[in-house]
């Protein structure tokens, strides 16, 4: 009974809460209550999922009671469970954060409904075991994100939203094309089944390299990897802050997760080409992100470029595809989702309070907001990976893995990038909170108790994650195992037969 219901809860809870909100109609207060309650429910169900997966191993449910290679299966391994939990936590706090920031007009136009549909798609993409189903869930959350990025209809939103939509439609079309190639080669769409079939095949794999390139094109566009991140800074700059939090923390990470999943299950036969290509692109991504982060003093832009750096670092771990590399990638993935949400929330508070996005025009805010200031500092340290905080473990394992594999350049670039990250975020901290006092009379009298609650809670979650990293190690070991050892992921299919 639990195997039937539990894996579906992260998908069904947001979907049903969206439907209930549609029934309620344009009543923002009711929407807020429903959204917050379903956010809490999501957290509880996701935690239950982690416990269940930890005790009994990978959870599988078959939609429509069709056995595995034929029907669609939902497979929740530890990696999916951890990602779903992180998504739930970020969603809950972002909803709380939205109460005082998004504005009543957007709330009236079904803002929370769209968030809930987007979370449906994201959780679905994390938990599905069928590659075509993953495409469908990608489209679900992308459609919701198209609405969210243009909701409110200001000029910059419409302009940047259109570009975002066109880029994503093109990459989605290539996703279908890649699926067509994959289906014609393997004759299956179940990811575990494809993995088994490819493992048992002893012929030429050259066509799989082509499929790998098509898939990388698709997911790199969603994740913002080097040649294809061009849309990201502009488009993410446009929407209001709470939407940016969700996009920055979640959307690119779904692309990264998809790269990890496909590259571990499908493309393990020609790693000299596919994974080297991935590593190369990841390193250039880090370098380009660093250049971007150093060249702006606009707070939003700096953090947005930090997303690109983080994507690169995670991909370095994925490209290594060994135990410590994947362990580091998983640690860093979860860490980055949490810390990016926290940083965006804090930066958003500053923007709402001062009405400025450029850090050069701020100064001396530590007198007005000491707590926010020190929280920002902690978040900056965590982002850069200073030891007791959460970013450290991911980077440690990734760098260890690069040195073990003899990729010294990669390790050095990852290490050097932490310095750039630290510099870029701490310079924001210094500019905004120290230095010459800005004119405090221009501060806007915004209600900020819920904004501060959400932001500080996210920072605390991040710190707690860093301190508990040792306790959580068995979970991450399980999560990493399903990537570097694909047979552990796909063994459920042999149990069925």
């Amino acid at each position: 009974m639990t195997t039937n219901i539990l894996p579906l809860l992260p998908i069904m809870i947001p979907f049903f809460s969206g439907i209930i909100m549609l029934f309620v109609g344009k009543r923002p207060i009711a929407h807020r209550v429903i959204a917050a309650i379903s956010g809490l429910l999501l957290i509880f169900s996701a935690l239950w999922l982690i416990i269940e997966v930890y005790q009994n191993g990978t959870m599988v449910t078959f939609l429509g009671n069709w056995a595995a290679p034929f029907g669609i299966s939902l497979v929740i391994d530890m990696a999916a469970a951890l990602l779903v939990t992180t998504t739930a936590i970020i969603t809950f706090f972002t909803i709380i954060y939205s109460f005082q920031t998004i504005g009543i007009e957007r709330e009236n136009y079904y803002y929370y409904v769209m968030i809930m549909f987007m979370i449906t798609g994201i959780n679905g993409a994390f938990s599905t075991g069928d590659i075509f189903n993953m495409f469908v869930f990608f489209e679900v959350f992308l459609l919701a994100s198209y609405v969210l990025i243009t909701l409110g209809g200001t000029k910059i939103q419409l302009q940047e939203g259109f570009k975002y939509i066109v880029v994503n439609i093109i990459s989605s079309n290539f996703f279908v094309l890649g699926l067509a190639y994959l289906y014609s080669v393997t004759g299956s769409l179940n990811m575990a089944d494809i993995s088994n079939k490819l493992a048992g095949f002893d012929g030429s794999f050259s066509i799989m390299s082509l499929v790998a390139v098509v898939f990388l094109f698709v997911f790199a566009t969603k994740a913002g990897v080097f040649p294809l991140y061009f849309w990201l800074p502009g488009s993410y700059y446009a929407p209001p802050m709470p939407v940016l939090i969700l996009f920055g923390a979640l959307l690119t990470k779904v692309g990264v997760y998809a790269i990890a999943r496909t590259y571990s299950l499908f493309f393990m036969d020609n790693t000299a080409f596919t994974h080297q290509m991935l590593l190369f692109l990841a390193l250039i991504t880090i370098v380009m992100g660093c250049i971007g982060a150093l060249s702006f003093s606009d707070m939003k832009k700096v953090i947005i470029y930090n997303i690109i750096i983080a994507v690169g670092i995670i991909l370095v771990g994925i490209a290594m595809m060994d135990e410590s590399g994947m362990l580091g990638a998983m640690y860093y993935l979860i860490h980055d989702m949490i810390i990016k949400a926290a940083l965006f929330m804090l930066v958003g508070f500053l923007i709402y309070r001062t009405g400025q996005t450029n850090a050069d025009r701020l100064g001396g805010l530590i007198k007005e907001h000491p707590v926010v200031g020190w929280m920002f500092f902690l978040a900056a340290l965590a982002l850069a990976g200073v030891p007791p905080l959460s970013g450290f473990y991911g980077k440690l394992f990734i760098v260890q893995s690069t040195f073990e594999n003899g990729q010294y350049v990669a390790g050095i670039i990852v290490l050097a990038s932490s310095l750039v990250v630290l510099y870029s975020v701490v310079s924001l901290f210094i500019k905004a909170f120290w230095g010459e006092d800005m004119d405090f009379t221009t501060l806007r009298p915004v209600k900020s108790d819920k904004i501060l609650f959400a932001s500080i809670a996210m920072v605390i979650v991040s710190i707690a994650f860093g301190l508990a990293a040792d306790v959580l190690y068995p979970l991450f070991e399980m999560a990493a195992q399903s990537f570097y050892d694909p047979s552990s992921y796909s063994e459920y299919i042999t149990e069925v037969e």
Binding site: F132, F135, V136, E139, L143, Y146, V147, T150, G153, T154, K155, I156, L158, Q159, G161, F162, K163, I165, V166, I169, I170, S172, N173, F174, V176, L177, L179, A180, Y181, Y183, S184, L189
Partner: protein, 113 residues
Amino acid sequence: MEIITIVLAGILIGSAVYLMLSKSVIRIIIGTAVMSHGVHLMFLTMGQLKRGNIPVLDDDVSNYADPLPQALILTAIVIAFALTAYTLVLALRSYRELGTDNVEEMKGVPHDD
């Protein structure tokens, strides 16, 4: 037969690329729609083109068409339909708001905002 459909898919995708490289918003949207048709045709070809029976619940059916690509394409068509509809609405909205349908003029940060 497969060769013909593959060439046709190529022509569709090629014309879609041409349309998407133009500057008018509506042409770009039509380009994305045409591209999705080309990709769907490709998918249909990948599942092998065959004349056959319906592959449902019948023991004496031996030669049947692969149902999976068709089901998947149906899903993809529905998604492409929704996307095209949404982009059209958005194009109208942005035309009224920005006063242009030329992507050349949709650069930088619009000011009076």
